[in-house]
Symmetry: C2
Subunit: 275 residues, 2 copies
């Protein structure tokens, strides 16, 4: 039963003055397609990498049909606490048990995940552990699903999995900036972009660190559905004023990324979308 927009957001249709853009035919068609979303989880995932984008997607799903699978090596609670792992080569593994953590519920395993249209890979310290343990489960999953996906997204160090799976060959990609040096060693032929809030190349979208996932998600959904109407109103309902310039990346300067655009402004002026 489709939720009446009138009851969900009383002011939805009367208040927002969106900029005058018209959705394309394919954007209109997408609004009725039931996209199957998958989000991968692993011990030590970064919570906001997942929930920043998910909050927007959940809100949009009140209006445009979506389905979700949270996919991990096992179903049930998956913790954001990273297992002990080596942070500095040659040093003993570091124990992160003193950090607080949250567990999200995985609904599917890599084996039981349904057909997917859109797949999102988050980042987090857990990426380092997987690499250290030569665990290529996520990479294998990406390889097996890539052809049938309409879109593949990563947030933060999630782009490491994309790189290691080979799908980033000759493609532009970015990652979070405080771990830049670690990330860019991976992947053959990857065009790593030092200053980018997010990148978009073909069906692959990658974002910078953590909070940047929300900005990428807004840009992504604006492209898929058109921003006017639901997408813009969702952003205003969750009171997020997004960064809309993918080139704005002051954190590449903050974290001294080699090749960062040091001439660009560190500042970004934002406002409610459509206003």
């Amino acid at each position: 039963m489709r939720f009446s927009s009138i009851t969900l957001l009383p002011l939805l249709l009367t208040t927002t003055l969106t900029t005058a853009t018209t959705p394309s035919k394919s954007q209109l068609a997408n609004r009725s397609k039931k996209f199957s979303l998958g989000i991968v989880l692993f011990p030590g995932f970064e919570p906001l990498d997942v929930i920043g984008p998910f909050e927007i997607l959940q809100s949009v799903s009140a209006y445009y049909p979506l389905s979700i699978s949270f996919i991990a090596s096992q179903t049930g609670p998956i913790t954001s606490r990273s297992p002990p792992h080596v942070m500095v080569p040659g040093q003993p593994p570091v124990n992160l048990d003193h950090l607080i953590a949250v567990s999200l519920h995985a609904t599917h395993t890599f084996a039981t995940a349904p057909p997917l249209d859109i797949l999102l890979i988050p980042g987090g310290m857990g990426n380092m552990v997987l690499v250290e343990n030569n665990d290529t489960t996520i990479e294998s999953f990406i390889q097996s699903r890539y052809k049938s996906l309409t879109h593949l997204l990563s947030v933060c160090t999630g782009s490491v999995s994309l790189a290691r799976s080979g799908v980033l060959k000759n493609k532009r990609a970015t990652t979070n900036k405080s771990f830049w040096n670690w990330v860019v060693q991976f992947g053959e032929g990857v065009k790593w972009v030092p200053s980018a809030r997010w990148t978009h190349d073909g069906k692959i979208w990658t974002s910078s660190g953590v909070a940047a996932g929300m900005d990428m998600t807004y840009a992504f959904l604006s492209k898929v559905y058109g921003k006017e109407g639901v997408v813009d109103n969702v952003l205003n309902a969750i009171e997020y004023a997004p960064h809309t310039d993918p080139k704005w990346d002051p954190f590449s300067v903050v974290w001294d990324v080699p090749g960062a655009d040091t001439k660009g402004s560190l500042k970004s002026c934002v406002k409610p979308v459509g206003f």
Copy 2:
């Protein structure tokens, strides 16, 4: 084992030029106190209300000792999907099953939750269901814990629980702006503030909708610990450039809140903290 800052964020100490403020004696003392955090969950909680603040808190916990309890009526997975509920008085309950949802793992019940220093109440559609069902479990919990808390925080419609518990009497508070009219009917003597990204009155902090929880959390932790050093660096590691003016609230204008400050700028210019 305290995690070495050198290995966690290689650039932590060398790169960030924080503004010249010195932490107070009590802020320095707080950095060694192990604050016991509690976050309440209920069916239909808003995911980003929880995880926006939690991402910052988890990151800070690598450096300052914290403990966390996720508290609900039962332990185990708690869904962000709201049960059916009445949206418009006189209308039948609306079913929200078609929305996608995520489940977070509750670690404690209201009965088993440990002593708490800081308690956070998120918002979400689920608030409406609780009110409709005359469920005052959360309000009773707040009442029983209030005296022993050092701080009580709410995000979004979470302030409804604070209002109904009576702790907001003669105190300033705010809520998300798209449901303003529903929220402000609650609570005796509450000084509801129509335009506020967040409010702070005594030991109570309340934020506007969803994403505003992160801005409030940064202001809150800056007050508790002092911003220089860990708190600022965490914000830059998660690449979030916060809104730092509690009076900036363009969403009160977007959503036509009675009494909103229509003269203030809808725009906010942000940058990495400390830069």
